[in-house]
């Protein structure tokens, strides 16, 4: 493997950082799409030169960009995300019915097998698929039309579908997560969807054990262990050993079980990373210390990783799509903060360095391991 490419979406444009396999010297290119919010960029596992970017603006709406040369040049593709058929309503913050309205693409998930197939998780919550490299988009409407859809309510960031996990062992199985509806799974390629929230408990909804209504912040899976899912919920770090059919808490000794990101070491399915954040209202690291916590046992026992991270006066947040892992050995872990710092570890998290420190607010981080 020749190196890594880190794709960073920020409040004011996108940045691409590249390094060789040592991952100690970095070149920063950008800003791309200056002044626009880049919610997410992600490369195709089939062809790493193919990258999709979600460009969004409260003024001018959604634009989708595609690159076929690793981010050197870009072209716009389709931005027409039309919900299929009767759109219906979901619940608004005050509990009243609110029509489904497309706002933006939160997350792109390129197919594991076809370079022109890509999934988009959008606000208001829905999942779309393109089979022509983003030129046209079709909704997998079975999710939005689920019998519970009219009861879904937005989280503070909107009713967003932010996590899409494509099962590497079963092309018909997809996991998604929605704030604040919960996690869902399809086993038939997106026609029908099953809520997979049994075992989640959320004291901020009328029935804490409800089938839907949980504010799931992020889910992660290791391809070698597809039955196991990890979840950072609004509160609680959770684990499922049966592909989401049931969940149990693995927060263990974390200083707080609130946070947004969660990811799995690419070389060890039992090594998991989270960044605890103080909440409900503060949304910055406890005690002003930015700490990644690592569990090598699949949860419950966590160790603080602090070397190279600020251990005083740090009051940034790490948003849900702002952590990623590469496929090098040892594994590289990358995360971005709302203060514009991008931290990287090239040794499983043992030590960290800021590879960029004055970027705009970071919304998303993805990494490509280059052949």
């Amino acid at each position: 493997m020749s190196g890594v490419r880190v794709l960073v979406g920020t409040k004011k444009g996108a940045f691409i950082l590249t390094s060789d396999g040592k991952r100690d010297k970095w070149q920063i290119d950008g800003p791309l799409f200056g002044g626009w919010e880049i919610y997410h960029m992600k490369g195709s596992p089939v062809d790493p030169n193919r990258i999709y970017a979600s460009q969004s603006s409260g003024w001018f709406g959604q634009v989708v960009h595609l690159s076929d040369d690793g981010g050197k040049s870009w072209q716009t593709v389709g931005n027409d995300f039309v919900y299929e058929g009767e759109t219906g309503t979901h619940q608004w913050y005050d509990g009243t019915a609110h029509p489904w309205e497309f706002a933006r693409v939160w997350h792109f998930e390129p197919s594991l097998t076809d370079v022109d197939t890509v999934y988009a998780g959008v606000e208001d919550a829905g999942i779309f698929r393109s089979r022509d490299g983003g030129l046209t988009w079709q909704e997998l409407s079975g999710l939005r039309r689920h019998s519970t859809g009219s009861t879904w309510q937005p989280g503070a960031g909107g009713l967003c579908l932010h996590s899409i996990v494509l099962d590497a062992n079963d092309e018909n199985r997809i996991f998604v997560a929605i704030s604040a509806a919960g996690a869902f799974r399809t086993d038939d390629g997106g026609k029908t969807w099953l809520p997979i929230n049994q075992g989640l408990r959320s004291d901020y909804i009328p029935d804490p054990n409800a089938e839907v209504g949980h504010c799931v912040h992020r889910i992660a899976q290791h391809p070698a262990n597809p039955q196991v899912l990890f979840m950072q919920k609004h509160w609680d770090v959770m684990r499922s050993d049966d592909a989401g059919a049931s969940w149990y808490e693995i927060s263990g000794n974390l200083p707080t079980d609130f946070g947004f990101v969660i990811d799995v070491n690419s070389n060890d399915p039992q090594t998991v990373y989270v960044v605890p954040i103080k909440s409900d209202s503060e949304h910055y690291p406890p005690e002003g210390k930015l700490r990644v916590y690592r569990s090598r046992s699949g949860g419950n026992e966590w160790e603080a990783l602090t070397k190279g991270l600020p251990q005083k006066d740090c009051y940034v947040n790490v948003l849900r799509d702002a952590m990623a892992v590469d496929k090098m050995d040892p594994c590289g872990i990358y995360f971005g903060t709302t203060g514009g710092e991008l931290y990287a570890s090239a040794n499983d998290g043992d030590s960290w360095a800021a590879i960029a420190s004055t970027l705009p607010k970071i919304l998303s981080v993805e990494v490509q391991t280059l052949p």
Partner: protein, 98 residues
């Protein structure tokens, strides 16, 4: 020839200058001007008006001849001075945000 002034972000997206000159066939209305603009620059589809409903995006306004025409119907004739190319038609983004 209709003269249309577009905001900075749309210029970068369209790779155009600030003023775009358009030929509009038939009656010069907002709808006809935007049709012509989007035909010239397909990348602008969805950035000024909703692709399904045709509704103006809420943080955009349309000005011309010192008037705010944002709430005029899309098929209402634009001022004669705009239709004759003497005055530009402005697409303005709200001054807001961080």
């Amino acid at each position: 020839m209709i003269r249309v002034i577009i905001p900075h972000h749309l210029r970068t997206l369209a790779k155009s200058g600030s003023e775009v000159d358009l030929e509009v066939e038939g009656e010069v209305t907002r709808g006809a001007v935007l049709d012509a603009l989007e035909a010239r620059y397909p990348v602008l589809r969805g950035t000024i008006r909703d692709q399904v409903t045709g509704e103006r995006r809420p943080f955009l306004r349309f000005f011309a001849c010192k008037q705010d025409l944002s709430h005029e119907p899309p098929d209402a004739p634009l001022p004669e001075a705009v239709a004759r190319g003497e005055e530009p038609y402005y697409i303005i983004g709200a001054i807001a945000g961080g």
